[in-house]
Subunit: 204 residues, 2 copies
């Protein structure tokens, strides 16, 4: 299956600014992207980048400087056949999770993110369009239901755990792909326990 991976090639992961400077955010975002591309390929699918600016990488790249929603919808309008859309910051992704996303043959297969977002989709309904604004998981489900499109939800922590904020780095250190976990370790991040929770702290 063709799997589109949208990627902000200009100013990625701004909510990690409290712990990573701009150059580091680019490097870490690229490491997460490469883990996602590896997982998609290892599951036997064909990744394609949908990037906001030109980027040097192995898979085909479609450049679209618009916001995420119109850029993805332009791909959906052009497509033939089932199309996966998988976010580039799913640093915990593994081939088995991609397999569970791509295996059902429902009109819409959706993986919710923590907090109500949509982290991954497989679209077979030719009229379905995305809207990533707001509580998009609920809105995408409602769209499928109102159109009578068969809907499947994938229950996966690896698909649910996107990496947006410093607190999310714990998951990358514990469960992340080779490149993104190594990137964090090289940058000095380590797990530190406290009474209530484990945090990812950067060594001084």
């Amino acid at each position: 299956m063709r799997v589109i991976v949208p990627f902000d090639a200009r100013d990625p992961k701004t909510r990690l600014a409290p712990v990573l400077d701009e150059s580091e955010r680019r490097g870490f975002a690229r490491a997460m992207l490469d883990d996602v591309l590896d997982a998609v390929r290892a599951a036997g699918h064909q990744p394609e980048l949908l990037a906001t600016a030109p980027i040097d990488c192995e898979p085909p790249v479609r450049v679209d400087s618009r916001a995420l929603t119109p850029a993805v919808n332009a791909v959906l309008a052009d497509r033939t056949g089932p199309t996966g859309i998988v976010m580039a910051d799913l640093a915990l992704l593994a081939p088995a999770a991609i397999d569970r996303l791509c295996r059902p043959d429902d009109g819409l297969v959706i993986a919710p993110g923590i907090g109500g977002g949509t982290n991954a989709l497989v679209v077979r309904d030719p009229e379905f369009r995305v809207d990533y604004h707001g509580t998009s998981y609920r809105d995408h489900c409602r769209q499928a239901q109102s159109r009578g499109t068969p809907l499947a939800t994938v229950d996966s922590f690896r698909l649910a755990a996107d990496v947006d904020e410093p607190v999310d780095l714990v998951e990358v250190l514990l469960h992340g792909g080779d490149r993104s976990s190594a990137w964090l370790a090289d940058a000095g991040f380590e797990l530190v326990g406290s009474e209530d929770r484990t945090i990812a702290r950067r060594q001084d």
Copy 2:
């Protein structure tokens, strides 16, 4: 399979104090517990409560006022056969997730929680003991590896999403079991979108 559900019957969910008073925390904790018990039964397993104080409910109750780790280890020391241990605040739990936890026949099956905790285990190794302090997912995996115990990890958002803090209520409103999501709705909680994220806000 016998599935132990530890439950704090005295002062549950203290980290929800910013949004729920003590009586409400008891009510909501009980709704989540009942959803967990329903999911365990619907998956064909036998729940047993491990409660810090006597509690009125249908499944058998073992009362142990000690902290979570020694109380669970006392159960493990007494047991015969495979034993599941599933936290009582997994409000998103569904029978399919319990099935994925209980199906593998490895010596230890583990479901990580968001933030490095251990939300569910199936223990077949008679010498395995829990330690819920700190980054317990990593520590439990290491214990199994050091003992040569075959280890399986379950990739499930429904098993990963425990409900500790106000931010976690979003997941209950979106994906929670019938009782816990209805409890929150009755208490006036609703989803409100903002630019970066969706939050659960209580109506005035």
